[in-house]
Protein backbone atom coordinates (compact mmCIF):
# COMPACT_ATOMS: atom_id res chain seq x y z
CA UNK A 1 0.00 0.00 0.00
CA UNK A 2 2.54 2.53 1.13
CA UNK A 3 5.18 2.21 -1.47
CA UNK A 4 8.34 3.83 -0.11
CA UNK A 5 8.85 5.72 -3.33
CA UNK A 6 5.58 7.65 -3.07
CA UNK A 7 5.56 8.38 0.62
CA UNK A 8 7.51 11.52 1.56
CA UNK A 9 10.17 11.15 4.24
CA UNK A 10 9.25 12.10 7.80
CA UNK A 11 11.67 15.02 7.88
CA UNK A 12 13.69 16.41 5.04
CA UNK A 13 15.89 19.45 4.58
CA UNK A 14 16.86 20.75 1.17
CA UNK A 15 19.90 23.02 0.89
CA UNK A 16 19.07 24.53 4.25
CA UNK A 17 21.30 27.57 4.81
CA UNK A 18 21.68 30.33 7.31
CA UNK A 19 24.17 33.16 7.16
CA UNK A 20 24.90 35.87 9.70
CA UNK A 21 26.26 39.33 8.92
CA UNK A 22 27.22 40.43 5.44
CA UNK A 23 30.17 41.51 3.33
CA UNK A 24 33.53 40.59 4.77
CA UNK A 25 31.97 39.46 8.03
CA UNK A 26 29.63 36.96 6.38
CA UNK A 27 29.42 33.76 8.37
CA UNK A 28 27.85 30.69 6.84
CA UNK A 29 26.64 29.06 10.02
CA UNK A 30 24.66 26.42 8.13
CA UNK A 31 25.65 25.90 4.53
CA UNK A 32 23.40 23.99 2.09
CA UNK A 33 22.58 21.14 4.42
CA UNK A 34 20.39 18.36 3.01
CA UNK A 35 19.33 15.20 4.80
CA UNK A 36 16.31 13.06 5.52
CA UNK A 37 15.11 11.43 8.72
CA UNK A 38 12.76 8.46 8.96
CA UNK A 39 10.01 8.20 11.55
CA UNK A 40 11.16 6.60 14.78
CA UNK A 41 14.82 7.13 14.05
CA UNK A 42 17.38 8.57 16.42
CA UNK A 43 19.77 10.68 14.40
CA UNK A 44 22.83 12.27 15.95
CA UNK A 45 24.19 15.52 14.58
CA UNK A 46 27.86 15.62 15.53
CA UNK A 47 30.33 18.47 15.29
CA UNK A 48 32.69 20.64 17.28
CA UNK A 49 31.51 23.93 18.79
CA UNK A 50 31.02 26.48 16.04
CA UNK A 51 30.27 23.83 13.44
CA UNK A 52 26.70 25.09 13.09
CA UNK A 53 24.92 22.19 14.75
CA UNK A 54 23.05 24.36 17.24
CA UNK A 55 22.07 26.81 14.49
CA UNK A 56 20.80 23.86 12.49
CA UNK A 57 18.74 22.80 15.50
CA UNK A 58 17.26 26.28 15.86
CA UNK A 59 16.44 26.35 12.16
CA UNK A 60 14.66 23.00 12.42
CA UNK A 61 12.74 24.32 15.43
CA UNK A 62 11.76 27.39 13.40
CA UNK A 63 13.12 29.63 16.13
CA UNK A 64 15.39 31.09 13.47
CA UNK A 65 14.52 31.79 9.84
CA UNK A 66 16.70 30.15 7.19
CA UNK A 67 18.26 32.43 4.58
CA UNK A 68 17.82 29.72 1.97
CA UNK A 69 16.53 26.20 1.52
CA UNK A 70 13.52 24.32 2.82
CA UNK A 71 12.43 22.10 5.69
CA UNK A 72 9.77 19.51 4.91
CA UNK A 73 7.81 17.66 7.58
CA UNK A 74 5.71 14.84 6.11
CA UNK A 75 6.49 16.39 2.73
CA UNK A 76 4.99 19.73 3.75
CA UNK A 77 7.10 22.85 3.47
CA UNK A 78 7.25 24.31 6.99
CA UNK A 79 9.71 27.10 6.18
CA UNK A 80 6.77 29.13 4.89
CA UNK A 81 5.05 29.14 8.29
CA UNK A 82 4.93 32.68 9.65
CA UNK A 83 3.66 34.25 12.84
CA UNK A 84 2.73 32.74 16.17
CA UNK A 85 -0.48 31.06 15.06
CA UNK A 86 1.03 29.08 12.16
CA UNK A 87 4.19 28.24 14.05
CA UNK A 88 2.16 26.89 16.95
CA UNK A 89 0.77 24.19 14.67
CA UNK A 90 4.37 23.20 13.93
CA UNK A 91 5.39 23.25 17.59
CA UNK A 92 2.62 20.79 18.39
CA UNK A 93 4.64 18.26 16.38
CA UNK A 94 8.18 19.44 17.05
CA UNK A 95 9.57 20.15 20.50
CA UNK A 96 13.00 20.66 22.02
CA UNK A 97 15.28 20.09 24.97
CA UNK A 98 18.22 22.47 25.38
CA UNK A 99 21.72 22.29 26.73
CA UNK A 100 21.51 24.18 30.01
CA UNK A 101 18.37 23.20 31.92
CA UNK A 102 18.77 26.06 34.40
CA UNK A 103 18.88 28.76 31.75
CA UNK A 104 16.05 27.07 29.86
CA UNK A 105 13.91 27.26 32.98
CA UNK A 106 12.12 30.46 33.90
CA UNK A 107 13.45 30.72 37.45
CA UNK A 108 10.31 32.47 38.69
CA UNK A 109 8.10 29.51 37.81
CA UNK A 110 7.46 26.19 39.48
CA UNK A 111 7.68 22.93 37.57
CA UNK A 112 3.89 22.73 37.49
CA UNK A 113 3.62 26.15 35.88
CA UNK A 114 6.34 25.57 33.27
CA UNK A 115 4.88 22.20 32.33
CA UNK A 116 1.24 23.19 32.21
CA UNK A 117 2.13 26.34 30.29
CA UNK A 118 3.52 24.26 27.45
CA UNK A 119 -0.04 23.16 26.70
CA UNK A 120 -0.76 26.72 25.50
CA UNK A 121 0.58 25.61 22.14
CA UNK A 122 -2.46 23.33 21.67
CA UNK A 123 -5.40 24.37 19.57
CA UNK A 124 -8.05 23.75 22.22
CA UNK A 125 -7.08 24.66 25.74
CA UNK A 126 -7.50 21.77 28.20
CA UNK A 127 -9.26 22.25 31.52
CA UNK A 128 -7.28 22.87 34.71
CA UNK A 129 -7.80 19.30 35.87
CA UNK A 130 -6.56 17.93 32.57
CA UNK A 131 -3.54 20.21 32.64
CA UNK A 132 -2.60 18.96 36.07
CA UNK A 133 -3.21 15.35 35.14
CA UNK A 134 -1.01 15.65 32.07
CA UNK A 135 1.69 17.41 34.08
CA UNK A 136 1.69 14.59 36.63
CA UNK A 137 1.80 11.97 33.88
CA UNK A 138 4.68 13.71 32.14
CA UNK A 139 6.70 13.91 35.36
CA UNK A 140 6.09 10.21 36.01
CA UNK A 141 7.17 9.37 32.49
CA UNK A 142 10.61 10.93 33.02
CA UNK A 143 10.98 9.13 36.33
CA UNK A 144 10.24 11.99 38.71
CA UNK A 145 7.91 11.78 41.68
CA UNK A 146 5.14 14.33 41.05
CA UNK A 147 4.34 14.63 44.75
CA UNK A 148 7.90 15.65 45.40
CA UNK A 149 8.62 17.86 42.41
CA UNK A 150 5.38 19.41 41.20
CA UNK A 151 5.63 22.74 43.03
CA UNK A 152 9.40 22.97 43.24
CA UNK A 153 11.44 25.79 41.72
CA UNK A 154 14.48 24.93 39.57
CA UNK A 155 16.96 25.97 42.27
CA UNK A 156 15.42 23.36 44.57
CA UNK A 157 16.25 20.53 42.16
CA UNK A 158 19.47 18.93 40.94
CA UNK A 159 20.72 19.49 37.40
CA UNK A 160 19.65 16.02 36.33
CA UNK A 161 16.17 16.53 37.75
CA UNK A 162 15.75 19.92 36.05
CA UNK A 163 16.83 18.43 32.73
CA UNK A 164 14.28 15.65 33.17
CA UNK A 165 11.62 18.27 33.88
CA UNK A 166 12.60 19.96 30.63
CA UNK A 167 12.22 16.64 28.80
CA UNK A 168 8.83 16.19 30.50
CA UNK A 169 7.89 19.65 29.24
CA UNK A 170 8.72 18.66 25.68
CA UNK A 171 6.59 15.50 26.07
CA UNK A 172 3.51 17.39 27.30
CA UNK A 173 2.12 17.91 23.81
CA UNK A 174 3.20 14.44 22.58
CA UNK A 175 5.38 15.72 19.73
CA UNK A 176 6.43 13.55 16.80
CA UNK A 177 9.93 15.01 16.65
CA UNK A 178 12.17 15.89 19.57
CA UNK A 179 15.24 18.01 18.96
CA UNK A 180 17.67 17.52 21.82
CA UNK A 181 20.51 20.04 21.69
CA UNK A 182 23.35 18.68 23.84
CA UNK A 183 20.92 17.67 26.59
CA UNK A 184 23.61 15.92 28.62
CA UNK A 185 26.58 18.26 28.37
CA UNK A 186 25.76 20.12 31.60
CA UNK A 187 25.11 16.94 33.56
CA UNK A 188 27.37 14.76 35.66
CA UNK A 189 28.71 11.71 33.84
CA UNK A 190 26.63 9.41 36.03
CA UNK A 191 23.41 11.20 35.03
CA UNK A 192 24.17 11.22 31.32
CA UNK A 193 23.30 7.58 30.78
CA UNK A 194 19.98 8.06 32.58
CA UNK A 195 18.99 10.84 30.21
CA UNK A 196 20.25 8.95 27.17
CA UNK A 197 18.28 5.85 28.20
CA UNK A 198 15.21 8.01 28.77
CA UNK A 199 15.44 9.31 25.22
CA UNK A 200 15.89 5.78 23.91
CA UNK A 201 12.79 4.64 25.80
CA UNK A 202 10.78 7.49 24.30
CA UNK A 203 11.67 6.30 20.85
CA UNK A 204 10.92 2.67 21.67
CA UNK A 205 7.63 3.33 23.47
CA UNK A 206 6.23 6.33 21.62
CA UNK A 207 7.88 5.87 18.23
CA UNK A 208 9.22 9.39 18.68
CA UNK A 209 11.81 10.64 16.23
CA UNK A 210 14.81 12.21 17.92
CA UNK A 211 17.48 14.52 16.58
CA UNK A 212 20.33 14.35 19.06
CA UNK A 213 22.80 17.19 18.72
CA UNK A 214 26.14 16.53 20.41
CA UNK A 215 29.88 17.06 20.23
CA UNK A 216 30.47 13.71 21.90
CA UNK A 217 30.96 10.82 19.51
CA UNK A 218 30.67 8.32 22.38
CA UNK A 219 27.14 9.48 23.16
CA UNK A 220 26.23 9.53 19.48
CA UNK A 221 27.45 5.97 19.20
CA UNK A 222 25.47 4.94 22.26
CA UNK A 223 22.12 6.41 21.29
CA UNK A 224 21.89 7.00 17.56
CA UNK A 225 20.92 4.87 14.57
CA UNK A 226 22.46 7.25 12.12
CA UNK A 227 24.95 10.07 12.43
CA UNK A 228 25.37 13.33 10.53
CA UNK A 229 28.77 15.01 10.83
CA UNK A 230 28.92 18.77 10.53
CA UNK A 231 32.04 20.80 9.89
CA UNK A 232 32.12 24.56 9.31
CA UNK A 233 28.43 24.70 8.55
CA UNK A 234 28.49 21.88 6.03
CA UNK A 235 27.35 18.31 6.34
CA UNK A 236 30.53 16.42 5.55
CA UNK A 237 29.45 12.87 6.21
CA UNK A 238 26.33 10.90 7.03
CA UNK A 239 25.38 7.29 7.44
CA UNK A 240 24.59 4.53 9.95
CA UNK A 241 26.46 5.16 13.15
CA UNK A 242 28.65 2.01 13.03
CA UNK A 243 29.69 2.62 9.47
CA UNK A 244 30.64 6.23 10.01
CA UNK A 245 32.51 5.65 13.25
CA UNK A 246 34.31 2.51 12.16
CA UNK A 247 35.15 3.68 8.70
CA UNK A 248 35.17 7.49 8.66
CA UNK A 249 35.49 8.87 5.15
CA UNK A 250 36.04 12.53 5.85
CA UNK A 251 39.24 13.93 7.36
CA UNK A 252 37.31 15.85 9.95
CA UNK A 253 35.44 12.76 11.18
CA UNK A 254 38.77 10.98 11.52
CA UNK A 255 40.14 13.84 13.58
CA UNK A 256 37.00 13.84 15.73
CA UNK A 257 37.50 10.13 16.27
CA UNK A 258 41.11 10.54 17.32
CA UNK A 259 40.02 13.18 19.84
CA UNK A 260 37.82 10.74 21.73
CA UNK A 261 39.94 9.46 24.59
CA UNK A 262 37.67 6.53 25.40
CA UNK A 263 37.65 5.07 21.90
CA UNK A 264 41.38 5.44 21.47
CA UNK A 265 41.98 3.74 24.78
CA UNK A 266 39.76 0.89 23.74
CA UNK A 267 41.49 0.46 20.43
CA UNK A 268 44.86 0.05 22.06
CA UNK A 269 43.30 -2.19 24.69
CA UNK A 270 42.09 -4.53 22.01
CA UNK A 271 45.51 -4.46 20.46
CA UNK A 272 44.39 -2.80 17.25
Amino acid sequence: MNAPSTQPPFLETQNLSRTFGHGAQLVRAVDRVSFTVRQGEIVAIVGESGSGKTTLGRLLLRLLDPTDGRILLHGQDVTALRGGKQLRTYWRKVQAVFQDPYSAFNQFYTNARVLSRSLDVLETQPSREERLQRTIDALREVGLDPEDTLFKYPHQLSGGQVQRVMIARALMVSPELLIADEPTSMLDASLRVTVLNLLKDLRDQRDMTILFITHDLGQAYYIADRVLVMYQGQMVEQGPVEEVLQNPQHDYTRRLMSDVPLLRGRKSFFGQ
Partner: protein, 300 residues
Protein backbone atom coordinates in the same frame (compact mmCIF):
# COMPACT_ATOMS: atom_id res chain seq x y z
CA UNK B 1 -11.29 13.83 37.14
CA UNK B 2 -13.06 14.50 40.43
CA UNK B 3 -10.61 12.44 42.41
CA UNK B 4 -7.86 14.54 40.90
CA UNK B 5 -9.34 17.78 42.19
CA UNK B 6 -9.93 16.23 45.57
CA UNK B 7 -6.42 14.92 45.94
CA UNK B 8 -4.99 18.12 44.60
CA UNK B 9 -5.20 20.28 47.66
CA UNK B 10 -4.07 17.50 49.97
CA UNK B 11 -1.27 15.78 48.17
CA UNK B 12 0.25 18.46 46.03
CA UNK B 13 0.69 21.45 48.27
CA UNK B 14 2.30 24.57 46.93
CA UNK B 15 5.34 26.00 48.77
CA UNK B 16 3.51 29.31 49.23
CA UNK B 17 5.19 32.66 49.71
CA UNK B 18 8.72 31.40 50.09
CA UNK B 19 9.37 31.53 46.37
CA UNK B 20 11.94 33.74 44.66
CA UNK B 21 10.54 37.04 45.93
CA UNK B 22 10.01 35.74 49.45
CA UNK B 23 13.65 34.78 49.71
CA UNK B 24 14.70 38.25 48.59
CA UNK B 25 12.68 39.81 51.42
CA UNK B 26 14.18 37.43 53.94
CA UNK B 27 17.65 38.39 52.78
CA UNK B 28 16.70 42.05 53.06
CA UNK B 29 16.05 41.57 56.75
CA UNK B 30 19.68 40.51 57.20
CA UNK B 31 21.24 43.40 55.31
CA UNK B 32 22.01 46.20 57.79
CA UNK B 33 22.73 48.67 55.03
CA UNK B 34 19.33 48.07 53.51
CA UNK B 35 17.58 48.31 56.86
CA UNK B 36 19.41 51.53 57.75
CA UNK B 37 18.63 53.16 54.38
CA UNK B 38 15.01 52.06 54.57
CA UNK B 39 14.62 53.37 58.11
CA UNK B 40 16.05 56.79 57.21
CA UNK B 41 13.82 57.03 54.17
CA UNK B 42 10.71 55.95 56.09
CA UNK B 43 11.48 58.51 58.81
CA UNK B 44 11.70 61.26 56.20
CA UNK B 45 8.50 59.98 54.61
CA UNK B 46 6.56 59.98 57.87
CA UNK B 47 8.00 63.39 58.81
CA UNK B 48 6.44 64.79 55.63
CA UNK B 49 3.16 62.89 55.64
CA UNK B 50 2.37 62.14 59.29
CA UNK B 51 4.21 65.08 60.90
CA UNK B 52 1.70 67.83 60.06
CA UNK B 53 -1.18 65.64 61.26
CA UNK B 54 0.46 64.60 64.53
CA UNK B 55 1.74 68.09 65.35
CA UNK B 56 -1.46 69.77 64.14
CA UNK B 57 0.27 72.12 61.68
CA UNK B 58 -2.33 72.68 59.00
CA UNK B 59 -1.04 75.72 57.17
CA UNK B 60 2.55 76.07 56.03
CA UNK B 61 2.01 79.62 54.84
CA UNK B 62 0.58 81.06 58.10
CA UNK B 63 2.47 84.00 59.59
CA UNK B 64 3.61 83.27 63.14
CA UNK B 65 6.38 85.85 63.69
CA UNK B 66 8.59 88.49 62.09
CA UNK B 67 11.38 88.50 59.48
CA UNK B 68 13.86 85.69 60.23
CA UNK B 69 13.03 85.19 63.90
CA UNK B 70 15.58 82.99 65.66
CA UNK B 71 14.61 79.42 66.62
CA UNK B 72 12.45 79.49 69.74
CA UNK B 73 10.05 77.29 71.69
CA UNK B 74 7.14 78.35 69.45
CA UNK B 75 8.99 78.30 66.13
CA UNK B 76 11.45 75.42 66.54
CA UNK B 77 13.48 76.31 63.51
CA UNK B 78 12.76 80.03 63.49
CA UNK B 79 10.74 81.88 60.88
CA UNK B 80 11.34 82.74 57.25
CA UNK B 81 11.32 86.04 55.40
CA UNK B 82 7.55 86.43 55.79
CA UNK B 83 7.54 85.30 59.42
CA UNK B 84 6.28 81.79 58.65
CA UNK B 85 7.32 78.75 60.65
CA UNK B 86 10.31 77.01 58.97
CA UNK B 87 9.70 73.67 60.72
CA UNK B 88 6.14 73.46 59.37
CA UNK B 89 7.37 74.44 55.93
CA UNK B 90 9.96 71.67 56.07
CA UNK B 91 7.28 69.05 56.59
CA UNK B 92 5.13 70.34 53.75
CA UNK B 93 8.21 70.90 51.60
CA UNK B 94 9.29 67.28 51.95
CA UNK B 95 5.79 66.16 51.09
CA UNK B 96 5.75 68.22 47.88
CA UNK B 97 9.28 67.18 46.92
CA UNK B 98 8.54 63.48 47.50
CA UNK B 99 5.28 63.57 45.53
CA UNK B 100 6.96 65.31 42.60
CA UNK B 101 9.89 62.88 42.78
CA UNK B 102 7.50 59.94 42.92
CA UNK B 103 5.47 61.09 39.92
CA UNK B 104 8.65 61.92 37.97
CA UNK B 105 10.27 58.60 38.89
CA UNK B 106 7.17 56.58 37.97
CA UNK B 107 6.80 58.27 34.61
CA UNK B 108 10.50 58.07 33.78
CA UNK B 109 10.76 54.42 34.82
CA UNK B 110 7.58 53.41 32.98
CA UNK B 111 8.59 55.22 29.79
CA UNK B 112 12.15 53.90 29.99
CA UNK B 113 10.96 50.35 30.63
CA UNK B 114 8.40 50.48 27.82
CA UNK B 115 10.73 51.98 25.22
CA UNK B 116 13.78 49.98 26.30
CA UNK B 117 11.99 46.61 26.41
CA UNK B 118 10.28 47.15 23.07
CA UNK B 119 13.55 48.18 21.43
CA UNK B 120 15.56 45.37 22.97
CA UNK B 121 13.05 42.61 22.46
CA UNK B 122 11.71 43.45 18.99
CA UNK B 123 15.08 44.50 17.58
CA UNK B 124 15.70 45.46 13.96
CA UNK B 125 14.28 48.71 12.59
CA UNK B 126 12.07 49.31 15.64
CA UNK B 127 15.15 49.18 17.86
CA UNK B 128 17.12 51.55 15.62
CA UNK B 129 14.33 54.12 15.47
CA UNK B 130 13.60 54.01 19.21
CA UNK B 131 17.26 54.25 20.14
CA UNK B 132 17.82 57.11 17.68
CA UNK B 133 15.01 59.03 19.42
CA UNK B 134 16.46 58.15 22.82
CA UNK B 135 19.92 59.36 21.86
CA UNK B 136 18.53 62.61 20.51
CA UNK B 137 16.65 63.20 23.77
CA UNK B 138 19.82 62.43 25.75
CA UNK B 139 21.88 65.03 23.88
CA UNK B 140 19.41 67.82 24.69
CA UNK B 141 20.31 69.16 28.14
CA UNK B 142 17.25 68.35 30.20
CA UNK B 143 17.47 71.45 32.39
CA UNK B 144 16.94 73.62 29.27
CA UNK B 145 13.81 71.67 28.32
CA UNK B 146 12.65 71.85 31.90
CA UNK B 147 13.07 75.64 32.01
CA UNK B 148 11.34 76.13 28.65
CA UNK B 149 8.46 73.79 29.53
CA UNK B 150 8.06 75.35 32.95
CA UNK B 151 7.84 78.82 31.44
CA UNK B 152 5.41 77.68 28.74
CA UNK B 153 2.98 76.24 31.27
CA UNK B 154 1.24 79.05 33.16
CA UNK B 155 0.01 77.13 36.21
CA UNK B 156 2.50 74.61 37.49
CA UNK B 157 0.77 72.20 39.80
CA UNK B 158 2.63 69.46 41.64
CA UNK B 159 1.41 66.86 39.13
CA UNK B 160 2.47 68.94 36.14
CA UNK B 161 5.92 69.48 37.65
CA UNK B 162 6.33 65.76 38.20
CA UNK B 163 5.24 65.03 34.65
CA UNK B 164 7.63 67.60 33.17
CA UNK B 165 10.57 66.13 35.06
CA UNK B 166 9.45 62.56 34.26
CA UNK B 167 9.18 62.99 30.50
CA UNK B 168 12.66 64.48 30.29
CA UNK B 169 14.54 61.91 32.34
CA UNK B 170 13.62 58.51 30.87
CA UNK B 171 16.38 58.08 28.22
CA UNK B 172 19.09 56.62 30.47
CA UNK B 173 16.70 54.04 31.84
CA UNK B 174 15.56 53.20 28.31
CA UNK B 175 19.14 52.63 27.18
CA UNK B 176 20.05 50.41 30.10
CA UNK B 177 16.80 48.44 29.83
CA UNK B 178 17.28 47.97 26.09
CA UNK B 179 20.72 46.45 26.68
CA UNK B 180 19.29 44.06 29.27
CA UNK B 181 16.27 43.10 27.18
CA UNK B 182 18.30 42.34 24.08
CA UNK B 183 20.61 40.11 26.09
CA UNK B 184 17.68 38.36 27.81
CA UNK B 185 16.00 37.81 24.45
CA UNK B 186 18.62 35.27 23.43
CA UNK B 187 18.26 33.17 26.60
CA UNK B 188 17.00 29.65 26.30
CA UNK B 189 13.98 30.13 28.54
CA UNK B 190 12.62 32.61 25.99
CA UNK B 191 12.94 29.95 23.28
CA UNK B 192 11.23 27.44 25.56
CA UNK B 193 8.37 29.87 26.17
CA UNK B 194 8.01 30.41 22.42
CA UNK B 195 7.91 26.66 21.86
CA UNK B 196 5.24 26.57 24.59
CA UNK B 197 3.08 28.85 22.49
CA UNK B 198 3.61 32.15 24.31
CA UNK B 199 2.80 35.30 22.32
CA UNK B 200 4.97 38.43 22.20
CA UNK B 201 3.25 40.21 25.11
CA UNK B 202 3.38 37.11 27.27
CA UNK B 203 7.08 36.71 26.41
CA UNK B 204 7.82 40.28 27.41
CA UNK B 205 5.87 40.17 30.66
CA UNK B 206 6.84 36.71 31.87
CA UNK B 207 10.25 36.04 30.31
CA UNK B 208 11.89 39.48 30.07
CA UNK B 209 10.47 41.91 32.64
CA UNK B 210 10.68 39.64 35.74
CA UNK B 211 14.36 39.08 35.04
CA UNK B 212 14.92 42.85 34.98
CA UNK B 213 12.78 43.58 38.01
CA UNK B 214 15.65 44.16 40.42
CA UNK B 215 17.21 46.56 37.96
CA UNK B 216 13.92 48.37 37.41
CA UNK B 217 13.43 48.79 41.18
CA UNK B 218 16.92 50.26 41.46
CA UNK B 219 16.36 52.52 38.46
CA UNK B 220 13.13 53.76 40.03
CA UNK B 221 14.85 54.61 43.30
CA UNK B 222 17.52 56.57 41.43
CA UNK B 223 14.90 58.34 39.31
CA UNK B 224 13.00 59.25 42.48
CA UNK B 225 16.13 60.77 43.94
CA UNK B 226 17.07 62.68 40.80
CA UNK B 227 13.45 63.83 40.39
CA UNK B 228 13.56 65.41 43.84
CA UNK B 229 16.87 67.11 43.08
CA UNK B 230 15.66 68.36 39.69
CA UNK B 231 12.59 69.83 41.33
CA UNK B 232 14.84 71.61 43.82
CA UNK B 233 16.96 73.00 40.99
CA UNK B 234 13.91 74.27 39.11
CA UNK B 235 12.35 75.73 42.23
CA UNK B 236 15.53 77.59 43.12
CA UNK B 237 15.32 79.20 39.69
CA UNK B 238 11.78 80.31 40.58
CA UNK B 239 10.07 77.72 38.37
CA UNK B 240 8.68 75.56 41.16
CA UNK B 241 5.08 74.47 41.67
CA UNK B 242 2.87 77.50 42.18
CA UNK B 243 1.06 77.99 45.50
CA UNK B 244 3.07 75.28 47.28
CA UNK B 245 6.04 74.88 49.56
CA UNK B 246 8.82 72.58 48.44
CA UNK B 247 12.37 72.21 49.67
CA UNK B 248 13.59 73.97 46.53
CA UNK B 249 11.13 76.85 46.98
CA UNK B 250 12.32 77.31 50.57
CA UNK B 251 15.86 77.61 49.26
CA UNK B 252 14.72 80.11 46.65
CA UNK B 253 13.09 82.30 49.29
CA UNK B 254 16.17 82.04 51.45
CA UNK B 255 18.32 83.17 48.52
CA UNK B 256 16.04 86.02 47.48
CA UNK B 257 15.80 87.43 51.00
CA UNK B 258 19.53 87.10 51.58
CA UNK B 259 19.36 84.79 54.57
CA UNK B 260 22.95 83.71 53.94
CA UNK B 261 24.26 87.27 54.25
CA UNK B 262 22.16 88.06 57.31
CA UNK B 263 23.20 84.82 59.01
CA UNK B 264 19.70 83.32 59.23
CA UNK B 265 21.08 79.78 58.85
CA UNK B 266 17.74 78.19 59.84
CA UNK B 267 16.20 79.34 56.57
CA UNK B 268 18.58 77.59 54.19
CA UNK B 269 20.47 74.94 56.17
CA UNK B 270 17.55 72.60 57.14
CA UNK B 271 16.09 72.27 53.61
CA UNK B 272 19.58 71.82 52.10
CA UNK B 273 20.46 69.15 54.70
CA UNK B 274 17.16 67.35 54.20
CA UNK B 275 17.65 67.27 50.43
CA UNK B 276 21.07 65.76 50.98
CA UNK B 277 19.67 63.24 53.45
CA UNK B 278 16.89 62.17 51.06
CA UNK B 279 19.34 61.72 48.17
CA UNK B 280 21.78 59.89 50.43
CA UNK B 281 19.19 57.48 51.83
CA UNK B 282 17.86 56.72 48.35
CA UNK B 283 21.35 56.09 46.95
CA UNK B 284 22.14 53.82 49.88
CA UNK B 285 18.81 52.06 49.40
CA UNK B 286 19.62 51.55 45.73
CA UNK B 287 23.06 50.11 46.33
CA UNK B 288 21.81 47.82 49.11
CA UNK B 289 18.99 46.55 46.89
CA UNK B 290 21.72 45.63 44.41
CA UNK B 291 23.41 43.73 47.21
CA UNK B 292 20.24 41.78 47.96
CA UNK B 293 19.40 40.87 44.39
CA UNK B 294 22.94 40.16 43.26
CA UNK B 295 24.32 37.20 45.24
CA UNK B 296 27.89 38.01 44.24
CA UNK B 297 27.80 41.31 46.14
CA UNK B 298 26.36 39.71 49.27
CA UNK B 299 28.45 39.88 52.40
CA UNK B 300 28.13 36.73 54.41
Amino acid sequence: MTTMTQTRGRRYSSPGVLGGMGRAFLLAAYSPRFLFALTVFLLILSFGFLGPIILGRHDALMTVGGLYDKPSSTAWLGTDNFGRDVFTQLMYGIRTSLIIGFIAGSIATTLGLLIGTTAGFVGGTVENVLMAITNVVITIPSIVILILLSIAISTRSIVVMGMIIGITSWPWTARAVRAQASSLRTREHVDIARLSGAGTLSLIFSEIVPFMLSYVVMAFVLQLSSGILQEAALSMLGLGPSGNVSLGIMLQWALLWESVRTGAWWAFLPPALLLTLIAFSLLLLQSSIDEIFNPRLRRS
